[in-house]
Amino acid sequence: MDQFTLNLIFVGASFALYIGIAIWARAGSTSEFYAAGRGVHPVTNGMATAADWMSAASFISMAGLIAFVGYDNSTFLMGWTGGYVLLALLLAPYLRKFGKFTVSEFIGDRFYSQTARLVAVLCLIVASLTYVIGQMTGVGVAFGRFLEVNNTVGLLIGACVVFAYAVFGGMKGVTYTQVAQYVVLILAYTIPAIFISLQLTGNPIPALGLFGEHQASGEPLLAKLDQIVTDLGFKEYTMHHADTVNMVLFTLSLMIGTAGLPHVIMRFFTVPKVSDARWSAGWALVFIALLYLTAPAVGAMARLNITELMWPNGTDAAAVSVETIETDEKYDWMQTWAKTGLLGWEDRNGDGMIQYYNDASPEMQERAAEEGWEGNELTNFNRDILVLANPEIANLPGWVIGLVAAGGLAAALSTAAGLLLAISSAVSHDLIKGAINPRISERGELMSARIAMALAIIVATYLGLNPPGFAAQTVALAFGLAAASIFPALMMGIFSTRINNTGAVAGMLAGLLTTLIYIFLHKGWFFIPGTNSFDDSDPLFFTIKSTSFGAIGAAINFATAYIVAGMTKAPPQEIRDLVESVRIPRGAGAAAADH
């Protein structure tokens, strides 16, 4: 059986499973549509949150970004897990106690203001849409590879699939579908990693193999990697090269953003009790950590494998020949990935070999002059293909490759579905029912939720065709926006009785707008390429890149809210009572759909 058929079987079977579950659990009433009737166990909820959370950015993109940069991109690992600590300690139990369905409802009630609620809806839609664009990038890569079509066609097919089950499933469908997706994606991520770790280090646990011994050379794996990449003029894998300020701010933005993203916070509305909300965040991180502890091993080992494939006789001997790439089956992956347009090589100096090295390094330029090289000949290696190509690079059996294709799609589709649900509930529940037409029927509310989903997916697909970065980088921008807008409002709503309606609205708007404008100035207005006035290599404000700006935006949000609230009237007594009741678990009943 050829690889294409195998991929189709794996992807097809996993889809049949998700759609089957979605139909079986089809949503009935609005209460079920949003929060699955609150009957979800913390472990189940944790697993579904993990699937919801780990998107194309974590699964498809992150290990590739770590592989080609090394230590400096540990920021993704710490940032995307550290946010759960903030979520568990600062938000989850209180929001569950509050007992409403959406984030913007909490903000509207706590700040006794319809304006605050609508501003929260706006923040939520901006952050979620940016996030979906990143997912669409990943969907395009995954579908492109396994259907052997180019990126654009892959993206359009993916968009139709996301639409199909997000629209007809609702949260209950999504909760159980996501448990199935988690299982598929974690198997797909860890099985190839285990094979590769065994091949390279003899250790079946990739996370330990990373710090183990490279069997072929007898040296520690990381020392071997450092040596082989520096031989080719690249920076040492394990050392600190990036700007420290950006590393800290970027990590902080991802952490705060994690705790401010509505589709994750919504998960904690679905557990039965306040104490369960605390445990749920822990269980979610357990399931997430299984992937995140494996990811750095995947990155390092893939970098080693790729480098050795390009220099099969060692870095000081001859490079791989064009003939070998075209005929040896170990290099088949390069041929198949070239079809997606995401991998490319070119024999620039016509010596029949492909030299892969850092042509910006002075020492390598010397060596190139001696040996007659004319620049790096592995001309294109899109970071987002690394995880999906990894089993092929390591020459693993066909079924593992099929499984990884299914896993990558599970990751991208599950998050896209969760985000679309958050967007649609914001529009139908908060915007239409809450502000425009409070008398709308249940049927009308469901219908408007579905129309909102369809519109969101069309916009995201359109922008996903020209994304502002690799999947994980686009997603990082979404986190920056959530960090700057939603998280500070939620936190001040719980931990301060002094912040009033005006303060909260001013804070959210200040945080959102400064961050959004800063991003647009560096990435192009509305992410349209070529419309940017600055570049992240030479940013506007000190050395702070647009991806790291979320933490600054959050600080602006907090400061603005405190200053404005200090100058205006304190919140009324009933709001202080509300805050005090949110702080204690006793009396948390089932949530009400209306208020």
Binding site: Y71, S74, L77, M78, T81, G82, Y84, V85, A88, L89, L90, P93, A207, L210, F211, G212, E219, P220, L221, L222, A223, K224, L225, D226, T238, H240, T244, M247, V248, T251, L252, M255, K273, V274, S275, R278, W279, A281, G282, L285, V286, A289, Y292, L293, P296, E580, R583, I584, P585, R586, G587, A588
Partner: protein
């Protein structure tokens, strides 16, 4: 002690636990993983150093420990102050 004082004492105890947890949270990630890494450079861990391990794996394990500790500690605190869910 009145219900109001008790709620106040509960909240203060909660805030103290949160502060301690957040200090550890920042220490392992921003501290050991990034800013204090040079101080840990002398401690080798499998081909690199302890700071590298904290940045790539250690901080995640500590985060997990913190969340479960907080859940366990708070559920106990709820009962001590009689504010748990019946």
């Amino acid at each position: 002690m009145s219900a109001k004082d008790s709620a106040m004492a509960y909240w203060k105890a909660n805030l103290r636990i949160i502060w301690i947890s957040l200090v550890i949270w920042a220490l392992v990630s921003f501290g050991f993983g990034i800013l204090l890494r040079p101080l840990l450079a002398g401690i080798p861990v499998g081909g690199s150093d302890l700071g590298f391990w904290f940045a790539q794996q250690g901080s995640i394990l500590v985060f997990l420990g913190l969340i479960f500790f907080y859940a366990w500690r708070m559920n106990r605190l709820d009962r001590e102050h009689g504010v748990d869910e019946e």
